[in-house]
Symmetry: C2
Subunit: 373 residues, 2 copies
């Protein structure tokens, strides 16, 4: 396992937030960080150069998808995921746990592992902790995640407890199976919305000794307040000196609230998926640029935005492209939304560095109060 | 009508080819030139900056599509097509003649104009020469095309003759209706595969006095030899000092053969459409990169190519992207194919300038003899 260096540069005086820096085999990352999602070895609609231009320091890619297509052997033969997809900066791969339980049609789960049918062609597959680690070693990501059992929401305490215990046993197997010296491994805390299970899961995961710790199984349908409460429950049990990663989160609001509660890393498909559906973030809240009301609107998506899209294109043109099914429309909204989120994170880091995170958050919320972000 | 300056820099000694330069309201164009097609106010999958990087000097956009969506009023309000789509270089718009007869479901054609149903929503529309010119004036293209009647292939001599005569009458109406001083207008020669009708159409069109002359109604299913013969038939009747445009053509071979026969301008959706279907041009002929045989091929699409795609990506990765339905796959193959065609045209111009077009053509054919380009 790679000895991932994580340095806390500054702690916020008014919250649990911290400004940090992480060193991975493919370079440094400033935290708190948002990781754009490149599910199938590409962040949808974007080139690596465009991601870099937007300030992307690390991306996430999905083990489940890459395992099914093109297959880990091909990526290994290509020289790993970085070489395969022409991305030279850090990559975190998830373990496929979440996807196996959400995307695939599940056949059987027991302590050995998971049997499921591919969402692509219905073919039958088996994944267990050992295989998942081997796949991630083939991918050659900078940070691998342990294979966990994701229990959905709502779920009974009994189900969630079983999931926590299985995740604990699988985490031990993942650690034991892992070989690569140039790859860090993060543990995952489960436990649904049950504080004591969350704490139990956190304690056990930390006892195993990972390079970082993720909070999984949130933002799966539970109320926002509950999610924040679970973060607050878990964080005190995670070691101060290791990075903390809130999986699959989130919205601008969730990023701010996560940072304030001590989270260092985030990923979410929402900015890119929303973009392709024609909804963009703006300083004043969400804007559904596909709407007919923008057909003759010759202003940029967000008048305060400096991204490529807002510098050169109007709402009327982008709406036309989306209505006409043109790829450029998806590119332009994706660029804008990723810029919005990455720029938000950069502003959060600046606010942390200069000690005005509270003010920043207050002003941000005030501006987009009228719309739900 | 704009007085489009066309200067012949050099004539080839062994063919009818010529090296030229055209001055439009939005800048100069070196000829022979290939115009990438931006049907719906975007060259599919590309940004304007990427097109410029590839050496694109002029693009074509489709009046029929833009008339239906978003509508010429919106584009006029945006400040014209250049401003609407963020493209500052020259634009040629076709007249919609070809699309009305090929894409729309046709209801009625008579001397007044054409009634048809939209291919998008089935709505009923009427276009005539006056309206088509007004739409193109709203679009504000540098070069507008007259509204012509396209008779398909095969067609009887009688049908083609009727088309030629109607096209002649419509051309006069187009000229009379046209107002913009900053927009050139090209006439179109029809006549199917009948040499005497082609000559009659050419003579009449030239007698009206346009800024340039197009040969329409070719590459619509007739044998290649017949197409070349028709070009050879028409060219002597077109004025030496005006640009000649072969519409909707073509393949690398057709570009070379067209240039040798005295054509200055070309457009075709094939390089971009083929790219999106997973077929790319290479020095050695076409390559269907979607094929399973490239799943583990870690070489570039074309080892001799210098385009962005070939510098950074492998066949295996591009195949993966296309199979997975990823937008980046379409972008990478489009960049490559446009580079191939635009680079071919640049090489043709260089060969013309240095007097070795025949040798260039011979070598080009020899290299990709084994595959059909």
């Amino acid at each position: 396992m790679y000895d991932l260096k994580f340095r806390i540069i500054k702690k916020d005086k008014f919250s649990a937030a911290r400004l940090g820096e992480m060193e991975t085999p493919h370079g440094k990352i400033s935290t708190p960080v948002f990781m754009p999602v490149g599910t199938q070895a590409t962040v949808k609609a974007m080139t690596p150069e465009e991601l870099i231009e937007l300030g992307t320091e690390i991306i996430l890619s999905n083990t489940y998808h890459l395992y099914l297509r093109p297959g880990p052997e091909i990526i290994r033969e290509a020289g790993g995921l970085h070489a395969f997809m022409h991305w030279e900066r850090p990559i975190l791969t998830d373990s496929g746990g979440f996807q196996v339980f959400s995307l695939a049609s599940l056949r059987e789960v027991d302590d050995r592992g998971v049997t499921f049918r591919s969402h692509i062609d219905g073919s039958l597959h088996f994944l267990d902790p050992e295989k998942v680690m081997a796949i991630q070693e083939d991918l050659g990501s900078d940070i691998a995640m342990v294979f966990d059992e994701c229990v959905g929401y709502p779920a009974s305490r009994e189900e969630v407890e079983k999931g926590v215990e299985r995740t604990a046993r699988w985490a031990e197997r993942c650690l034991k199976a892992h070989r690569r010296k140039d790859q860090a491994v993060f543990g995952i805390v489960q436990g649904g919305i049950f504080p004591d299970l969350r704490i139990r899961s956190a304690k056990h995961t930390v006892s195993l000794g990972f390079s970082g710790y993720a909070i999984g199984g949130l933002s799966v349908g539970e109320p926002k307040g509950m999610m924040y409460q679970m973060i607050e429950t878990v964080i005190p049990y995670l070691p101060e000196e290791k990075p903390r990663y809130l999986m699959g989160v989130g919205t601008p609001e969730d990023l701010i609230e996560g940072v304030k509660r001590g989270v260092d890393m985030f990923d979410c498909v929402m900015p890119t998926r929303m973009a392709r559906n024609g909804t963009v973030y703006t300083t004043y809240g969400r804007l559904v640029v596909r709407n007919a009301s923008y057909a003759r609107d010759f202003t940029p998506l967000d008048p305060h935005c400096q991204c490529y899209t807002c510098r050169y294109y109007t709402r009327a043109y982008i709406r036309h492209l989306l209505k006409a099914g043109e790829i450029l429309g998806l590119r332009l909204t994706t660029i804008h939304n990723l810029h919005f989120i990455l720029n938000l994170m950069a502003n959060i880091r600046k606010a942390l560095a200069d000690g005005y995170l509270e003010e920043f958050a207050r002003e941000f919320y005030a501006q987009c109060y009228s719309n739900k972000l």
